[in-house]
């Protein structure tokens, strides 16, 4: 039943078909009166009344009424939101031409005097982007987005001038994805700037940016980008469909979208990636992925997202391949450490102490001596304390950071083992595990959960349980899809060609094909050969 209802609702929305304006129109807010005026009339006063009624006297809405060209009969009004527009630019490029220059304009006298609106649009106002709307909702939307609306008496449409000028953050290096080598710039909260950053990376008319307005209340601008000719068109349609299916009142961050379009919403594994850097996004588009921008957040989404992406970093591609390969192995090792180390410790020390060398066993046994809890509880408590410290470090104001590290490092680590509450071995393992999970930040929320899952198995059935838990985990991973692409690709299903960018990082001149499942549309990336000095 519920499913059918949903389908019906989706069907109703389909005429929208990606066109943002009509989509918003087709969704009247339920608490508006039914007898609402939809179109502008040719009477300025009535239009203004309707608009004032709609904005209900919000303080930041400015209604500037004036006469065009010293003519008392030509009433006009500018409507805009204070703070979203550039006042100087309105004065100089809209008000001045209309009020003063207009009267002197001989051309106006000679031309057909009746089409004042056309004349203003084509001759009088030097503005870079002018639109003409007759639907009331369009006008309101434009005003809300920071445009200036010009209403003229005896015309039933409005001219919309672009004069956006709101404050925003500068382009700075993102704190989350810092690099040693590579571009430092990151996205910020303004969609236009983010799109321009991407444009500057890919100078190609095939970079398509499609726009939608999502959120019935916030009407947030959402934009998705892809490279035509590289991307699989089916994927584009799928992304467009999933975005259009979103029905929510507000979208404040790309995380809302991520949760509303992902393939496996109940899985702990993310099937939508995100990045804050234009170069990373450009690289993903070049591989045939799709990027999704949301106005108001520096985090852009990338789909499809595969597990191997968590083990790659943009710097891998900017550095020479040898050390990068070792670093990739280190990341894999860190992932394995972060997932398995505590579980393995619990399994071995509770079930299979015969597996470790005698001197190690003796020192482990010595550190366990006198501690009150079983190993599982010990690791669980220490792991929880670690997560608390981490969370405190994130939430806390910067200047107090020192205090947390003192309390965390000294009191909890040192004192807990001195007081015989936990063994030193556990502290080492928990610390190592914690550090290792920082190496793969994009799986930051997956690793602690999986670790706990494996730990529980290990504490119940030892290494046998650990294997069972791993099997459950791997079966789940093989089943996962991200926008139709197997999550473990190219490991499973195996595609040896793509492995040159998974376990190793092959030199740039050998990476001539796109990932097969993603870039099947156009799999040839380039035809570079091994660089060699030309023989004369």
């Amino acid at each position: 039943m519920l499913k059918n209802l949903k389908k019906l609702r989706d069907l109703k929305k389909t005429p929208a078909n990606g066109q943002p304006k009509t989509e918003n129109d087709s969704r009247p807010s339920s608490n508006e009166p039914e007898t609402e005026v939809n179109k502008l009339t040719s009477l300025l006063t009535s239009n203004l009344t309707v608009l004032k009624e709609r904005f209900r006297g919000s303080v930041d809405i400015v209604f500037r009424e004036f006469k065009v060209g010293f003519d008392p009969n030509k009433s006009a009004a500018l409507i805009y939101i204070d703070g979203l527009v550039k006042a100087e630019s309105i004065n100089a490029t809209i008000l001045k031409p209309l009020m003063f220059d207009f009267a002197r304009e001989k051309l106006w006298q000679e031309l057909n005097q009746h089409n004042l609106l056309m004349f203003i649009r084509d001759y009088a106002v030097p503005n870079n982007r002018v639109q003409e709307f007759s639907q009331l909702q369009d006008v309101i939307d434009s005003i809300l987005r920071g445009n200036v609306a010009l209403l003229l008496d005896s015309f039933n449409s409005a001219l919309i001038f672009d004069s956006k000028g709101f404050e925003g953050r500068a382009i700075i290096e993102p704190a989350t994805e810092s690099v040693v080598r590579g571009p430092r710039e990151g996205f910020n909260e303004r969609l236009g700037i983010n799109l321009s950053l991407l444009r500057r990376k890919i100078t190609n008319e095939n970079l398509i940016l499609e726009q939608l307005n999502l959120g019935t209340r916030t009407r947030t601008t959402v934009c998705f980008a892809y490279l035509k000719g590289v991307v699989n068109e089916k994927l584009v349609n799928e992304v467009r469909n999933r975005l259009q299916r979103i029905d929510i009142d507000g979208i404040l961050e790309s995380g809302y979208i991520e949760q509303l379009i992902e393939d496996a919403p109940v899985s702990i594994f993310p099937t939508v990636g995100n990045t804050e850097k234009p170069d990373i996004l450009a690289a993903k588009l070049l591989e045939g992925r799709i990027g999704i921008f949301v106005d108001g957040t520096p985090i852009a989404l990338t789909v499809p997202y595969l597990l191997v992406e968590a083990l790659q970093s943009s710097e891998d591609y900017y550095s020479r391949p040898y050390f990068v390969t070792i670093v990739r192995w280190l990341r894999i090792a860190s992932l394995i450490f972060a997932l398995y180390l505590p579980a393995l410790y619990i399994a071995i020390q509770s079930f299979h102490p015969d597996l470790i060398p005698t001197p190690l066993l003796v020192s482990m046994a010595k550190s366990r001596e006198g501690t009150p809890f079983p190993a599982y509880v010990e690791v669980f408590i220490m792991g929880m304390i670690f997560e608390i410290l981490r969370e405190a470090g994130v939430r806390m104001p910067r200047p107090i950071g020192q205090a947390v590290s003192i309390v965390g490092g000294l009191v909890i680590g040192e004192a807990a083992s001195k007081a015989n509450l936990v063994s030193e071995t556990v502290i080492i393992f928990v610390a190592l595990t914690g550090i290792a999970s920082f190496v793969i930040p994009s799986l930051g929320d997956v690793v602690p959960l999986s670790r706990l899952f494996l730990m529980t198995w290990a504490s119940l059935l030892g290494i046998f349980g650990l294997l069972m838990g791993s099997m459950v985990l791997f079966i789940h991973l093989t089943k996962l899809r991200s926008f139709g692409i197997p999550y473990l690709a190219p490991l499973a299903p195996a595609n040896l060609d793509d492995w040159q960018d998974v376990l190793v990082k092959a030199p740039a001149w050998t990476l001539n094909t796109r990932p097969r499942l993603l870039g099947a549309w156009n799999s040839i990336r380039g035809r570079s050969t091994r660089p060699s000095p030309k023989k004369k």
Partner: protein, 386 residues
């Protein structure tokens, strides 16, 4: 319903997995006592005395008590008696409290008396029990085995660890043997007439009790019958082809009161058997490669003639070592500890059927030839003594 079915399967798999775990045992580390050495002796009432050396992990909690040194406090020795070994093992729990944990046991040491009565009945439980490790060393001591447990480690923190390293490195001298439980059982299983195990003692020159590997012990089947001194032991190892390295010393050619040391680098052996006119004949061929490691005399030994002399002396010394063990096996013990019978059975399977029955009488009568081929391939970094 597809989904409901899947959930049922999942729970089935998870549920069944609990039942197929087999033998498992969850026990926290602090509930276990790690046994590092086991000693077996004959008890006073003709029963079995079972002693273990256990690591005392709770040691750090009571530091500063008593005047004993750290290593002594790190381990404790416990013993119990019982009608059988397993009985004695279980009786030990009456004294220990903690569950004794055997997989980390390094060695099983037999006392002289119990070894003379036969070790097979005792080793049974060590093969049968899942906790016992087949790679545990098996050793014999001339006195009470429990005394050996008292030994203090010199360089390691655990005496068991030290013993393990000593036995692993037996090839550096080839003056003792290293036999583990698996080897012992294999030899006894193949109807071997004898076993040779390493002989362990407390170093008489060390006032603090220290371990010392001293030669080997010879068993007829599973009963101790005698001991080999270090050089006889090497003779035994030559005959088995188990010499890894070692030092051969003999008088310097030309200067009889000074000595030369040769380092064995590689060695192999071949045994050929022959029956002609009812006379058994075995030929042991040894190929040795060695290097001149040290000379105490001042003669220049680097020239070809002197090297030939060295080679000849080396061959003689090796032959003597082998001859001593062959004679001992044939004349003193009348026991084929050298495994000639196995060789014979391989080459003459039919004849072996007849000889097998009275091999103990035939073996001492067999003629044994020893051929040693040696090669000196290196004289070290200096050409001649200064």
């Amino acid at each position: 319903m597809q989904k409901g079915k899947r959930v049922i399967y999942l729970f089935l798999i998870l549920g069944i997995s609990w039942l197929i775990t087999g033998c498992w045992d969850r026990k926290e580390l602090e509930g276990r006592a790690i046994v590092t050495l086991i000693a077996l002796d004959k008890g006073e009432n003709n029963d079995i005395k079972f002693s273990v050396r256990v690591v005392r992990t709770s040691d750090s909690q009571e530091s500063g008590t008593g005047g004993s040194s750290g290593s002594e406090r790190a381990s404790v020795i416990m013993s119990s008696t019982g009608d059988t070994v397993f009985d004695a093992i279980r009786n030990l729990v009456l004294k220990s409290g903690r569950k004794l944990y055997y997989p980390h046991n390094t060695a099983i040491i037999f006392g002289n008396e119990i070894a003379r009565e036969g070790i097979l009945p005792i080793l049974d439980v060590f093969n049968r029990d899942a906790e016992m490790h087949p790679l545990t060393w098996v050793l014999v001591t001339p006195g009470e085995a429990a005394d050996i447990l008292e030994a203090q480690p010199t360089l390691e923190s655990l005496s068991a660890k030290q013993l393990d390293m000593m036995l692993n490195d037996f090839g550096a001298t080839s003056k003792t043997v290293a036999t583990n439980l698996l080897d012992t059982m294999k030899q006894l299983a193949y109807d071997s007439p004898g076993v040779v195990l390493s002989n362990i003692e407390l170093d008489p020159n060390n006032p603090r009790k220290a371990l010392l590997l001293n030669g080997a012990a010879v068993f007829q089947r599973d009963k101790l019958i005698g001991r080999l001194d270090p050089l006889e032991t090497r003779g035994y190892l030559w005959s088995q082809g188990k010499v890894e390295s070692g030092v051969i010393t003999f008088p310097c050619p030309g200067e009889e009161n000074k000595k030369v040391s040769m380092e064995i680098k590689r060695a192999n052996r071949k045994i050929e058997s022959d029956i002609s006119d009812g006379q058994l004949k075995f030929t042991i061929t040894i190929n040795v490669e060695s290097r001149l490691a040290e000379q105490a005399c001042l003669t220049d030994l680097g020239n070809p003639e002197k090297l030939m002399e060295l080679k000849k002396s080396q061959c003689e010394v090796i032959e003597k070592e082998i001859r001593s063990i062959v004679d001992k096996a044939q004349e003193k013990y009348s026991t084929d500890i050298l495994g000639f019978g196995t060789e014979l059975s391989r080459k003459f399977p039919q004849e072996w059927q007849n000889i097998k029955e009275n091999w103990a009488e035939e073996f001492p009568k067999a003629e044994v030839d020893i051929v040693v081929n040696s090669k000196i391939f290196d004289i070290g970094l200096i050409k001649q003594p200064l």
